[in-house]
């Protein structure tokens, strides 16, 4: 009987070759073309086979299901040559026809696939040609920037999608218990082998426990019940540093940014006499100059964030404009600049030339402690130059409704999680006609000459296949944004993760998933 219990124990306990980590909620779908929220996206990343994969550390594009590829016609077309003998996890063969079918599904507007947005253009759909079981070519009418790298996000789907679909990535979904866990098992037909010829992945399985409470997740990590935490708050990271120093991994600045902006849209949010302040570059620069970004990183993020200079993080080594510098705190300089614009400081309160007290409301989302702290610090910094800021922390849905729909707000403090190093999607924020043009969406014509210049640069780089030419255009966009400050960039938070020392092969990266991006090479000892 004791032998039976011992065997049962080993069967139920985590296999030594199993990696365990937590996700905050149930994945909405296992269909790789409909993975939108982070939990589905994590499962997609770990299971889907893609043609090419961006190395999250070096940024290089590496072959995956595709053995080779070629971008031609000035970035209008790309052809892939697949590896021989590819199979899905259920043993069915994977061919160029599967790639074509997946891409056609993604592009189909009726499918409503978020992945399709990456591949669509404003013109006609691309032409997809399968010229053999291992050869496929895709041709666009106009150049598509970063065409090859786009295929990092296209998981090739099998012809028939079961509830737990087969996949061509390192793992497949073997079991799912709602509210409890998702179990991934190693794909016996995964194409990759290590230098010694051993089949990858090294891990037998990956268990994703569903746990929404980050404190409980941390406690389980400290008790060795889970091996990895892909994203940690500064407080929890410091706790790991104290209690399990070898497990804490900081990658330095992430691709993310925290910022705030004034609502410049006419007839919404602020009365016209306030809007006059918000549309003034001198006013925005002065407000920006009064803020102590070093303190924001030190206090709001417990030292785990760095002053930001512009829209792209310095962690994004290729695309970041290295000539930019974060604006240093200079309250006296800010007051001088405001005085030149007719503002006066009297009895600790700043007034404009018409005698209006300079005050505005700042909204941010409730429950995000670093952001709430940042709002309080900004409020205190601006009080020193006589500006009264009223902070309103809102439920996230209400906040999004105000900044995207009703535009009923004066200033907003938010952050952006950038998962892609290529700033192509991010540049859409700066298009004056765009819905995402945060400070004044959907302008009929650019409101200022510098916004017109940005429009020109954004559209130019969107149709340019040369990375270097795109870089030149995006560098200038960054310079203009840093100068005119329609968005006041505050800090770039660090990418903070944790991995138990027993997990080998970890190479933390700034891009998400920070410690799981090379899952096929990870081992648990």
């Amino acid at each position: 009987m004791n032998v039976v219990f011992a065997l049962l124990f080993f069967a139920v306990a985590a296999s030594p070759a199993e990696l365990r980590f937590a996700i905050a909620g149930d994945p909405k779908t296992f269909d790789p073309l409909h993975a939108e929220e982070s939990h589905s996206e994590m499962v997609r990343y770990l299971t889907s086979g893609v043609l090419v994969r961006v190395d999250r550390v070096s940024g290089e594009l590496k072959p995956e299901l595709a053995e080779s590829w070629a971008v031609k016609d000035g970035g209008r077309s790309i052809s892939f040559h697949l590896r021989a003998g590819l199979r899905f996890s259920d043993g069915s063969p994977l061919s160029a026809e599967d790639v074509a079918r997946t891409l056609r599904r993604a592009l189909d507007a009726k499918e409503g696939s978020p992945v399709g947005d990456t591949f669509r253009t404003s013109g006609a759909a691309p032409d997809i040609q399968v010229s053999g079981p291992r050869d496929i070519a895709i041709r666009y009418k106009t150049p598509k920037p970063g065409l090859d790298r786009l295929f990092d996000s296209l998981g090739v789907a099998p012809p028939r999608l079961a509830e737990l679909p087969a996949s061509a990535g390192p793992f497949f979904v073997a079991d799912y218990k709602r509210g409890v866990s998702v179990l991934l098992r190693r794909n016996p037909n995964y194409w990759q082998r290590d230098a010694a010829g051993h089949a990858l992945p090294y891990l037998d399985s990956v268990r994703l426990d569903i746990q929404s409470n980050h404190d409980i997740e941390l406690n389980r990590f400290l008790r060795n019940e889970i091996n990895v935490i892909d994203k940690l708050s500064p407080e929890n990271f410091n706790r790991v540093m104290r209690e399990k120093p070898g497990a804490a991994k900081s990658v330095g600045p992430s691709l993310d940014a925290e910022f705030f902006w004034f609502n410049q849209a006419p007839g919404r949010g602020a009365p016209e006499w306030k809007r006059k302040w918000f549309v003034s570059t001198a006013f925005r620069r002065a407000v920006s100059g009064a803020i102590n970004r070093e303190d924001l990183g030190r206090i709001a993020y417990l030292g785990r964030a760095h002053p930001a200079a512009g829209p792209i993080s310095p962690a994004n080594r290729f695309w970041y404009n290295a000539a930019l510098r974060p604006r240093a705190a200079d309250p006296e300089g800010a007051l001088k600049a405001l005085a030149a614009e007719g503002f006066r400081l009297r009895d600790g309160a700043l007034t404009d030339r018409d005698g209006h007290a300079v005050e505005f409301s700042l909204i941010t989302n409730a429950g995000n402690r670093p952001r709430e702290r940042m709002a309080a610090l900004v409020q205190s910094d601006l009080k020193k130059i006589g500006i009264r800021v009223t902070i309103a922390t809102l439920e996230f849905g209400s906040l999004i409704e105000r900044i995207t729909s009703s535009l009923n707000y004066e200033a907003a403090l938010l952050g952006l999680n950038n998962t892609d190093e290529d700033p192509l999607e991010q540049m859409n924020v700066f298009l004056s006609s765009g819905r995402e043009h945060a400070w004044w969406p959907q302008q009929k014509t650019p409101a200022t000459p510098w916004e017109a210049r940005i429009d020109e640069l954004v559209l130019r780089q969107a149709g340019e296949s040369s990375r270097e030419k795109r870089k030149a255009a995006i560098d200038e966009v960054q310079r203009i944004v840093a100068d005119e400050e329609p968005i006041i960039y505050l800090v770039n938070p660090d990418a903070l993760c944790a991995a138990a020392p027993s997990v080998k092969g970890i190479r933390p990266a700034v891009s998400s998933p920070h410690v799981l991006w090379n899952i096929e090479w990870l081992r648990v000892e």
């Binding site: 404190d215 407080e235 706790r239 303190d295 206090i299 005050e359 505005f360 409301s361 909204i363 409730a366 429950g367 709430e372 702290r373 709002a375 309080a376 610090l377 409020q379 205190s380 009223t390 902070i391 309103a392 922390t393 809102l394 439920e395 849905g397 209400s398 409704e401 009923n408 707000y409 004066e410």
Partner: protein, 267 residues
């Protein structure tokens, strides 16, 4: 028991005075950030240490007492007053009791959180912190009418059907005299009990509403917002003095309960 009640009364007066005298007694402004003294332990300069933004905890506790000790009881008073107003007429009619029970049940089962979200959407974002505070506690008071109303209605109905009430009416006592001399002491005791239960509930509810942007906005403190720090057990172990607002809340609740008890020893 008399000594206990006197002690409880003295404690409540002391807490009330601390709050009322906060503007003069607080050693620092409640919003001043001493950024070189973040999460500092207690010292001569900061007797209860500082919070994560370098603000003096003692000063913030005193101002929080001013806010919560004044407004939470006011909210509770509003709820109990509305509860009394609706329960008195309802209690003496079968249909009235049924109708009130129905309305109260509907009110209790409503997802008030969406009402508060909608309210926040309608209120101006640049509303002064004091105005936001008054509206928050006012709306909580109005929304909370159903709890005391149900209990008071049931008690009044039972009293109406009791033997002594029957005798009082049969012996020809005027209704006003019955109400003032005989009924009111019973009702007042129940209403007071409901008031004592609601005060700490509203303090904690205000903290929850802070998550919706209602409630106290930065940098104004309240017991509720100070209690939000207790979400992190790790923080408590390192800085046990952050339990001070909780200790104050427990003290006030216990004192209210002591004052409300009859002091009679059961036979």
């Amino acid at each position: 028991m008399k000594i206990l009640r006197r002690g409880a009364a003295a404690a409540l007066v002391f807490v009330g005075l601390c709050g009322a005298l906060a503007p003069v007694a607080a050693p620092h402004p409640y919003d001043e950030q001493y950024r070189e003294f973040l999460s500092a332990p207690p010292s001569a300069r900061f007797p209860l240490g500082t919070d994560d933004l370098g603000r003096d905890r003692l000063s913030r506790l005193l101002y929080a007492t001013l806010v919560s000790a004044a407004l939470a009881p006011a909210s509770a008073l509003v709820s109990v007053a509305i509860g009394l107003l609706v329960s008195i007429p309802a209690a003496f009619s079968r249909y009235g009791r049924t109708a009130l029970s129905g309305f109260a049940t509907i009110s209790l089962s409503l997802p008030w959180i969406f009402a508060f979200i909608a309210l926040r959407a309608e209120l101006p974002l640049d509303m002064a912190p004091l105005a936001s505070l008054l509206i928050t506690f006012g709306v909580m008071g109005v929304a909370g009418w159903a709890w005391p109303a149900r209990i008071l209605t049931a008690a009044l109905a039972e009293m109406n059907d009791s033997g002594w009430m029957l005798q009082a009416r049969a012996s020809g006592l005027p209704v006003r005299r019955i109400a003032r001399v005989h009924a009111w002491p019973h009702v007042a005791a129940l209403a007071a009990a409901q008031f004592r239960v609601l005060v700490p509930v509203y303090i904690l509810s205000e903290a929850s509403l802070g998550l919706l942007g209602l409630g106290v906005s930065e940098p104004l403190p309240s017991w509720g917002t100070l209690l939000r720090e207790l979400q992190h057990p790790d923080l408590i172990r390192a800085n046990p003095w952050i339990l001070a607002p909780l200790a104050l809340l427990v003290l006030v609740t216990v004192c209210l309960e002591i004052l409300g008890s009859s002091g009679e020893v059961p036979a």
